[in-house]
Amino acid sequence: MSGYSDLTIWAIILLSGLGTYGLRWSFLGAFSNRPMPVWAQRLLRYTAVAVLPAIAAPLVAWPAATGGAPDPARLIAAVVTMGVGLVTRNVLAAILTGMAALYLGLYLIG
């Protein structure tokens, strides 16, 4: 990331922070008296579950560390992480087993 000056990075931090604060403040601060339209609530409910997999999937399929070549150890680790998260509903357990699966996979395959 040599292409960014300190000033650019601080602009990113400040504007991301400001935008995020705006979202957090929005309804509580500005529209405390007006109910939110049902369709908007429906869409917003799926924001996290739409954005996080959309970011993670390409990183899993074409990892930067292998120059974009699909890697069995990383694919297995991804499946284990999601599976454990789904079963235990525990983020920390999913992260720990996922990383363990990755190291085991890299040790055995890579």
């Binding site: 292409g3 991301s16 979202l23 429906r42 996290a48 993670a56 390409p58 454990v84 999913a94 990755l102």
Partner: protein, 258 residues
Amino acid sequence: MPATADIPSGDDLTPAQIRALNRSPRQAFWHGLVQSLPFMLVLVPFGLLFGVVAAEAGLGLVEVLGFSTLVLAGASQFTAVQLLTDNAPVLVIIITAIAVNLRMAMYSASMVPWLGGATPGQKRLIAYLLIDQTFALSVQHYEKHPRLSIPQRVGYFLGASVACCVPWVVASGLGHVLGRTIPEGLALDFALPITFLAMIGPMLRTPAHIAAALVAIIASLVFSFLPSGLGLFVAAPLAMATGAWVEVLMERRQGVRA
């Protein structure tokens, strides 16, 4: 199913509800703080990881602390750092980092019935501290104790915030300092996707959530040919629309049954 029998009338409160109602705002603060302590198990390693990943990306300690105090949102911070590593355009980084937090607008809306009556100053502070954990825990507490006063609700929320947000900032700084001593073979490039995948599992509560996640995965892979991060802006809206659509379908089906 005899559902009506379970609704508590105003007079028969549970001992826990009476205890909650008798707390001063200061006691409510400590109650929220103590009940949030288990979240440290997730937030401390996650924060450490952010510090490590940010250090790998070349960010300085002050910038890491800036991210953690000013943005104060794990997934968003990881996304921004990932896009910095990818040399994405600045505007794409900012928009994506904010887009990841769109759910916060929904949290904000969900808080209105409980905290809408707080003072403007309190609401400004609450907005700053509204993260996944403080939101989830507080709403759960307010629903369990519907007759709490607004100062009691505010106290509880602020207590939860101290236990969640302070460790996050400290851990991310610590991760940055320790990051340089962590060996290369740890494949930390994959820590970010693993953290995201780990957060998805517990979110898949309904068929609509599962459908949204599946569409997000497929669409993000299909549209990954688009330049730096833009595929997300096709995949995420498609997935959100899918979730909303499946939700409507499920509601209709239940309506037919009932």
